[in-house]
């Protein structure tokens, strides 16, 4: 059951219109008032012109604007060249303005505006504004240049094979990284700003002719309804636009990897790039997406499949293993082989707690250790996590408080949970694990089955932007199953899956497989024209000459 929340669009605040007066002093005063007590704003008045009688005023934020740009490309040309302008107040002013805006300044990104309110925003974004005395417009020059982090591989999404670039915190750099991957003008990046005070730049990226229109429309609608004071991270946006906020499962994917975003866009999905955070959102997101890593496509067929199955298995283990242990130990000891049962009974004889208490305590301890490990600096954190658990586990066993099997189970569970590529899906199952353990401790395997069923029901009912969460397994079309549990080899992945890529199904033309799906030998042109092959395939050597003007009838059908 999907929630259809009718949200109201936020009322955008009327932009204040502060007119630019022709008297530069008034403008300066206005700006000074607005920027009272902001010591990082650099504002300077200067004069240009042969007779140095034209006043100009420049303002920028030190650190946000690139000082070299400001000095070399704004102040210097003005100071030098404008000297040559003949003095005639009216004409000069006009000409000066044009000179500056149309030629003198060697910066390329120049806009003219007449609303001082925008000047404020521009300054705060790192641009420089130029006020000219006697002109009722001002110039915004783009001079953004603040300290940037170098491009590096995102720590949370490392792959063995693949590019090692990751998004950083600057919007423009991120869009650049994306553009480099898809050099198609159909890659559209629509901009908007969210957050009353943060005015964060948001970019909606999609491929115009592939994208699923419904999802795009829905996304835009939802973004329009966001009415919040500040967007500090993509998580804010994610929580405000997802379908089921109360569900345990994430419905929006986030990633730091541009190649993942590019692949998603080519599938017909929509990406949301947000300034100040490297985490880019991708919608719609299905369960399958959370279980994939980009490597799946870079590696060859067998490896990718094997790893996919291992991941699924790991997910199941991290969810159910402790619960299974509790169920078997407390309720159904008949299921395990006799020697194992005897062994378990023997090791547990000294343990004072019942099975489920033992399991609960160990699991909670491990969660504590894990959280603690996250806070510590990376070197120590990792070590503490592993060593800590081992030592504590060992000590507990020797003290006779837990059985050794329990320690093994907890360790296995923890390791499996790390095999899942996305952190957010991981967390959902960590929580569910406890529910399963609880159910197993009351009703044994039956309880566990009920919890699993309930989880599956929940997964079946939630949607992510109109796409069922468990797509493509539940799409009702056999062709979509190609890329889920079993990833088909490249030649078979010719069409996009029906949920997101309806518009442009064909994506891959693989000559190795002909229209009936049979593998064909690929030969080069010279070979193809050689006699042997033609003789083998019975092709007549004479080709019908084409009449001028006759166009070839449409290409071969790919499907």
């Amino acid at each position: 059951m999907s929630m259809r929340i009718i949200k109201k669009k936020r009322k955008s605040k009327e932009k204040e219109f502060i007119p630019v007066s022709t008297k530069i002093d008034e403008n300066i005063e206005t700006l000074d008032n607005i920027f009272k007590d902001c010591t990082d704003i650099v504002a300077r008045e200067f004069r240009v012109g042969v007779e140095q009688n034209h006043r100009m005023y420049v303002a920028y934020v030190d650190g946000l604007a690139d000082r070299t740009l400001v000095h070399d490309h704004i102040l210097r040309p003005l100071a030098l060249e404008a000297r040559l302008i003949a003095p005639d107040p009216g004409v000069v002013k006009r000409k000066l303005f044009e000179l500056t805006s149309e030629g003198t300044l060697s910066a390329s990104d120049i806009k003219e505006k007449d609303n001082l309110d925008e000047a404020v925003l521009a300054i705060l974004s790192g641009d420089t504004i130029l006020l000219i005395d006697g002109v009722s417009e001002f110039i915004i020059i783009s001079t953004r240049g603040w300290p940037l982090r170098g491009l590096s591989e995102p720590p949370g999404e490392t792959v063995i094979r693949g590019p090692r670039e990751g998004f950083i915190e600057t919007f423009r750099v991120n869009t650049v990284l994306l553009r480099r991957k898809i050099r198609d003008p159909k890659l559209k990046i629509k901009g908007m700003q969210l957050g009353e005070r943060s005015k964060t730049d948001i970019g909606i990226a999609y491929m115009e002719d592939i994208v699923n229109e419904k999802v795009l429309k829905e996304l835009e609608n939802r973004l329009e309804t966001i009415d919040i004071d500040g967007i500090l991270e993509s998580g804010y946006v994610e929580q405000l636009i997802e379908d089921n906020w109360f569900s345990l499962f994430p419905q929006v994917q986030y990633t730091e990897r541009p190649d993942l975003v590019a692949a998603a866009l080519l599938q017909g999905k929509v990406a949301i790039i947000i300034d100040n955070t490297p985490m880019t959102l991708i919608v719609p997101a299905t369960f399958n997406d959370f279980m994939q890593s980009p490597e799946d496509y870079y590696e060859r067929w067998w490896i990718a499949n094997l790893i996919r199955w291992i991941r699924l298995f790991a997910l199941i283990i991290s969810f159910t293993l402790p619960a299974i242990y509790i169920a078997i130990a407390s309720y159904h000891p008949g299921i395990i082989p006799t020697s194992l049962a005897i062994f378990l009974a023997g090791t547990r004889e000294t343990v004072p707690f019942p099975v489920f208490v033992e399991a609960l305590v160990m699991e909670i301890t491990f969660e504590l250790l894990r959280e603690a490990g996250v806070r510590l600096p990376s070197q120590i954190g990792a070590t503490i996590g592993i060593v800590g658990s081992l030592i504590i586990g060992q000590a507990a066993v020797e003290a006779g408080l837990v059985s050794p099997i329990m320690v093994i189970i907890v360790a296995l569970t923890a390791i499996s949970s790390f095999a899942v590529p996305s952190y957010n899906l991981n967390i959902s199952f960590r929580l569910l694990r406890f529910v399963a353990m609880l159910a197993a401790s009351f009703l044994g395997l039956y309880g566990l089955v009920l919890v699993v069923i309930a989880t599956l029901i929940h997964l079946s009912t939630i949607n992510s932007f109109g796409v069922p969460y468990l797509a493509p397994i539940v799409s009702g079309k056999m062709s979509d199953l190609k890329d889920t549990v079993v990833k088909a080899p490249f030649p078979n992945l010719k069409s996009r899956n029906s949920f997101t890529g309806e518009k442009d199904k064909k994506r891959l033309k693989d000559w190795r497989v002909d229209k009936n799906g049979k593998t064909v030998k690929v030969v080069s042109d010279e070979e193809e024209n050689s006699q042997d092959i033609q003789a083998k395939e019975g092709i007549k050597t004479l080709k019908k000459p084409k009449k001028v003007g006759e166009t070839k009838k449409g290409g071969e059908k790919d499907e």
């Binding site: 059951m1 309720y331 159904h332 008949g334 299921i335 395990i336 082989p337 006799t338 194992l340 049962a341 009703l443 044994g444 395997l445 039956y446 309880g447 566990l448 089955v449 009920l450 069923i453 309930a454 599956l456 029901i457 929940h458 079946s460 009912t461 069922p468 468990l470 397994i473 539940v474 009702g476 079309k477 056999m478």
Partner: protein, 367 residues
């Protein structure tokens, strides 16, 4: 939820039918067929499957005459309002009672093999509550859930079934063709009720978007069910022989108990199989429960089925606790499937189709 909103494909409805039908019956099926026809029991299954295909095609034709209406609506058209209401009520009763029986049998088997001391009330209640969660997710949710669960159900089931085939004595299936045709004919009727559940299509066909595939899907799907039943029965008979089977209440479980998984990490397979079996019952019951809530919404012309779902829970729960003991359960179930089953599954659809043809109602189908 009206038929214009939710659309599923024929493939999905097919899956719904498979999981809805394969439920409680499969446990006792080998014994039932052997009791009637000894080692020719498998013939009964084949014949019953064929008849079921026939009836489902009848229902399909009937549904195609009224493309967007469920049986509740078009029966009004065909036999007038009061009779249609009666049909509706009969159907509801049918589903509710069937659901109650299934829950009870499920509880009994669970108690026997997995949780001996847990009171049956607890088992029933927890089961029904989880079911309500399924019902509330609406038709689409249910169908999607079934799509996933069908794999989880059948793959382990068949793996388990086939693990035990190493030591089978297939000669236990002989002698063949010894029973008289008369016995077989009468017996077929009783076995058709193992296929009960497929009639849900007369409620759900309006939601299918590609109705033209329905016929093919129905045939394929019911053949699959027949095959499942057939394989299970043959394996169980082969392993125990006709004498022994007659005295085992749940021969399928006994078979599972006798399997030795080679080299294994699982000693008693039935623990695992029982948990898989919970899924079987869950799907069957889900369909029944949902159907009854659904009919109620259609009868009362309300929009939401959820409230009916919750309202029916106490009824089903109380009904499920009515029989006193295992013997009574199966006695009553036998009588119920005979009478109510025949009525709902055979008589009503055929009658309605005949009336539709006579009165020339409904959309002319293309063939």
């Amino acid at each position: 939820m009206n038929s214009e909103e939710v659309k599923i494909s024929a493939f999905q409805l097919g899956i719904l039918i498979i999981v809805a039908v394969v439920g409680v019956g499969i446990l006792t099926l080998p014994r039932n067929v052997v009791e009637i026809a000894e080692t020719d029991g498998w013939i009964l299954i084949l014949a019953a499957g064929a008849i079921t295909i026939g009836i489902s095609l009848v229902i399909n034709t009937l549904a195609n005459k009224f493309p967007n209406e469920t049986i509740i609506e078009y029966s009004r058209d065909l036999v007038g309002y009061p009779l249609a209401l009666l049909i509706g009520i009969i159907l509801i009763l049918y589903y509710v009672i069937f659901a109650a029986f299934s829950v009870r049998i499920f509880g009994e088997v669970l108690k026997m093999y997995l949780l001996p001391k847990t009171p049956i009330e607890v088992i029933n209640i927890t089961f029904l509550i989880t079911l309500i969660y399924l019902i509330r997710s609406g038709f689409e949710g249910i169908v999607r859930f079934y799509e996933i669960i069908i794999l989880i159900m059948f793959i382990p089931y068949f793996i388990a079934l086939f693990t035990g085939t190493a030591n089978l004595d297939y000669s236990n299936l002989l002698p063949a063709f010894q029973t008289s045709p008369k016995v077989i004919l009468i017996g077929i009727l009783q076995i058709v009720f193992s296929f009960m559940g497929f009639e849900a299509i007369f409620l759900f066909i309006p939601f299918v978007s590609d109705k033209k595939n329905m016929k093919k899907t129905l045939i394929i799907v019911i053949s699959i069910i027949t095959l499942i039943y057939l394989i299970s029965t043959i394996i169980v008979i082969a392993s125990f022989g006709k004498h022994e089977i007659k005295i085992l209440i749940w021969p399928l479980m006994a078979y599972i108990k006798s399997i030795q998984v080679p080299g294994a990490f699982i000693e008693q397979l039935e623990g695992v199989i029982m948990t898989i079996w919970v899924l079987f019952i869950f799907t069957t019951l889900g369909t029944m429960y949902f159907s009854s809530a659904f009919i109620l919404t259609r009868l009362t012309k309300t929009k939401e089925h959820k409230i009916f779902g919750v309202a029916l829970l106490p009824i089903i729960y109380i009904l499920s606790l009515q029989p006193d003991n295992v013997a009574q359960i199966y006695d009553w179930l036998g009588a119920f499937s005979m009478y109510a089953g025949t009525l709902v599954v055979i008589i009503i659809p055929i009658l309605l189709l005949v009336i539709a043809k006579i009165r020339k109602k409904g959309v002319k189908s293309n063939g």
